[in-house]
Structure formats: C-alpha cells, structure tokens
C-alpha cells in the first residue's frame, strides 16, 4: 500500500477535508485531519496493521471501527491499549504499533 486513500471526489459527500496537521507514526510524520480518528489517518496513509497479538504475534487492524472490538489498539502518546478508531487526532500525536500488551512510555 502506501498510497493516499483519502476520498477526494464523491457524488454526495460535500465536506471532504484536506489534512491540516500531522501525527507521528512509529517515528514517521503522517498527514492527518484534526479531530478524525487516529485509525482513519493511518488508513489514509496505507497503514493497516495497528498491533501484534501478545501470544502469537499476529497482526491486527481495524475491525469494527466504532470502539467495540479492541483490535485497533496502539500506544498513543505513551499510553498502551488506546482504541485508535475512537481517539481523535491532535497535532503531533505520537502513535506506535503495539507489541502484545504494549508498554507505558515516559514522554517529555
């Protein structure tokens, strides 16, 4: 993947937004729209693997998209287990792929 998956033209939707900020995904800058879910910004950048499972290390990504299933959990601003599909983007957010249950980070 890697290509931009944002919907840029649409027969019905009117308020198509352009990225106005960025987040840091595993150290890389990714364009994002303020207030959209972190998972949407990642998806737009072609990122579909959010974490690896604790026991077998299998990849997991967006499954329900509305905060029910917990598959899209990542480490966000140093906090592990954050559901990225219901967490709104703020400028400069630090998002990391979560390995297993993840780790708490000390962010300056």
């Amino acid at each position: 993947m890697g290509e931009d998956r944002r919907v840029t033209k649409h027969p019905i939707l009117e308020d198509l937004r352009e990225p106005d900020t960025y987040i840091l995904y595993d150290g890389k800058k990714i364009p994002a729209v303020t207030g959209e879910p972190v998972a949407a910004a990642l998806l737009a950048a072609g990122v579909r693997i959010m974490r690896h499972t604790p026991k077998t290390g299998q990849p997991r990504g967006i499954f329900c998209g509305i905060g029910r299933c917990n598959d899209c959990k990542m480490i966000v601003d140093g906090v592990p287990g954050v559901r990225t599909c219901v967490t709104p983007v703020r400028e400069g957010m630090v998002v990391e792929t979560q390995e297993g249950l993840g780790e708490w980070r000390d962010l300056v």
Binding site: M1, L13, R48, R68, C85, V86
Partner: protein, 369 residues
C-alpha cells in the same frame, strides 16, 4: 447524586426521537452516549430512505440526523457525549464513565436506545488486517472519507451489504464480489440493481472460506455451497485487499439485562431482546426501549419506536393526559404498521406480536417460553 427525570441511553435515531417527543411534552430529558458525535449510524447513511413521505422517504439519512439534532437543541435537551454507561441498577441508579472518572446519577424513567452490534463470521484469516465489518468500512468512507481498501469482497447481500457495497463504489473503491450463502439476494432489488448495472459480480450460494495473505489480506478464497455446505473442488480465488462482513446484527441488551428487564429469544428480530409491551415498556416498569435493542429493524422504525417510548414515558411521568397519549400512540402505531408491511416487514410485525404476548404472559405471572 444528581437526579434526572428521563435518561435516554443512546443518541441515535431512536434515542433522539424519544428525547424530542418527551421534551415537547415538558419532561426534563438527558441523553447520554459513549460516542463523541451524536446521531448513531444516521450520519453514515448517505442513501435515500424508503417508505412514504411521513417516514422521510427520499431524504438521505444524514439530513434526517441533522434535523433531529436541531430539534434537540431547540428543545434544550441535554446531550452528554463521550460518556459510556457502565451499568444501571434496577432502581434507576446509572453509572457512567467520564474524563474525570466514574460518575452516577439517579433517573426516574429510563429509555434504552443502545442499538445493535454487527455479527461476524469465523474463517481462516478472518482476523487478518483488511477483514472488517461492513459497518467499519461504511464508517471509514462516509464519516471519515478514507477508503479501507481498493478492492473489496462483500460477504452478505442483505440491505447493509448491498448499500455499503454501492457506497464503496461511490467512494472510489472496486467491489470485486458480493457473496451470499443463500440461493437468492437478501436485500431490496433496487439496491442490488444498482450494483449489477455497475458490473459487480454476485456469487449466490457461495461463502468466503479463507482470507489469504501474510500480514494483510491479499486474496480471498470462495467456495460454492449446497444447502449451506461447502462443495469440495469449487474453490475460487479472488484478488482483493479487503473483506467486509454484512451478516446481520444483534440487539445490544446488556444494560437492559443489568436493570432487571426480562429477555426473550426472537429469531425474527436478531436474537435476545427485552420483552416489551405495546408502549415499548419492559418488565421493569421504569425502563422503556426503542430502536434496534428491541429488535433489529431500520432507522425509520427506530425513530417511530423512539417517539412511542418518549410519549409513553412522558405519560407515565404525568406530562400527557391518558386520552391524549392514547391518541398519539395510536398515530405512531399506524405509521409503524406501514413500515412493517410487505414481504420483509410482515415477519418483523409477527415477531413483535409474539414479544407483546410474552410480556402479557409474564404480567400474568407465567414463564416466558
């Protein structure tokens, strides 16, 4: 503890309609929802609604959502967003989460409009990134304007599967297949027709056997079915990066169960539902339900049920005289009957009658079947 007259859990079409109806009668209403935006699934529904003019036919779902929100604002209904309700005790004590920790309130009457969960299927690779519910895909394209993938296989040809497939096309994705385990398309012909005209292939009597790929979906293996059993040797592989599952919904009844409402299994309505009477009242006399929690239907029926529950709750709080309430409820039932007519509706109408029968049985002191 904070006290409220009427607490409504869920700010979707049912909850908002219930709130508007009760607030119009003079009830002090609080609506609470775990999501940061109100509207439930309405703002994802960019297609035009069915039914007659009184049901907003021809109006797109998100426009109906905007209207409901405007009315709640004008009526001064309190809408608490970002607060998940963790539990409700049979006496109406409500426990919910917030940024400042767990909070409580005491509600005189409660309307549960919690909606439904999407069902899913288990198959090899069904947890690979790229496999998701149809609702997740719809949320991503219509609400957040991001494509979940470029080449999609849709599993399920009910109205959700058909409508989301078409919306994926509108957003610029390709739908490589609509897969249906049954021998015929499940949803309305008008939705299926749009997909057929766009050249989307339908695989009837087929299911997905495997999602293939090392770290993400790269292809999907389908297999033909004979009376829902796989026929060996009929496997076919379709290149795709996304699998969407539109295989039904199940009412979200946890809170109803917690506050002591009796539940009954209803196959026609998606699973366990709280037993309720003609006014949407459960076996806990202070708790009403509306929308998909009372049986999976559509947004139009959810709104009418919301109005019904809102009217009944306002009546029980003394804000609408019995005679006037009876007139209004009769009117709403007339519109509900229209929505529950026809090939698909008649089955739901019958299921609702059976649930009301269960309610009467419990009131007489009997057991539910």
């Amino acid at each position: 503890m904070r006290k409220v007259q009427l607490l409504i859990v869920g700010a979707g079409p049912a909850g908002l309609s219930a709130g508007i109806e009760a607030a119009r009668a003079g009830v002090q209403v609080t609506i609470i929802d775990e999501n940061l935006r109100p509207g439930g699934q309405l703002f994802k529904q960019i297609h035009k609604f069915f039914g007659s003019r009184v049901h907003n036919a021809g109006v797109r779902g998100f426009r109906i959502g905007e209207k409901l929100l405007q009315e709640t604002r004008e009526l001064g209904v309190e809408v608490l967003l970002g607060y998940p309700v963790y539990g409700i005790f049979p006496g109406g004590e409500v426990v919910y989460g917030s940024a400042d920790g767990v909070k409580q309130l005491q509600a005189e009457k409660i309307i549960l409009a919690t909606g439904a969960n999407e069902n899913n299927l288990c198959f090899e690779g069904s947890v690979l990134p790229g496999v998701m519910t149809a609702g997740a895909a719809q949320t991503m394209i219509n609400l957040h304007h991001v494509l979940p993938g470029q080449r999609v296989v849709m599993v399920g040809s009910g109205n959700v599967g058909l409508i989301v497939s078409y919306q994926l096309l509108q957003a610029g994705a390709r739908v490589e297949a609509v897969v249906e385990a049954g021998p015929a398309i499940g949803g309305y012909g008008v939705h299926a027709g749009k997909l057929k005209r766009a050249g989307v292939p339908f695989y009837l009597s087929h299911t997905v056997q495997r999602a293939m790929g090392t770290t993400e979906v790269e292809a999907v293996e389908l297999v033909e079915l004979d009376h829902f059993k796989a026929i060996p040797g009929t496997e076919k592989i379709i290149e795709a990066d996304t699998v969407c599952m539109a295989v039904g919904l199940t009412p979200m009844t946890e809170l109803a169960s917690l506050c002591g409402c009796e539940l009954v299994e209803s196959r026609g309505l998606g699973g366990l539902v709280p037993v309720h009477d003609h006014d949407m009242r459960t076996t806990n006399p202070n708790v009403y339900i509306a929308g998909d929690i009372s049986g999976v239907e559509e947004a139009s029926t959810a709104m009418e049920e919301g109005r019904l529950a809102g009217t009944a709750a306002a009546e029980s709080l003394g804000y609408i005289p019995a005679k006037e309430a009876a007139r209004r409820k009769e009117e709403i039932h007339g519109r509900l009957d229209l929505l529950r007519s026809g090939q698909f509706g008649a089955r739901r109408a019958q299921a609702k009658i059976e649930i009301e029968r269960s309610f009467a049985q419990i009131k007489r002191g009997g057991e539910v079947r």
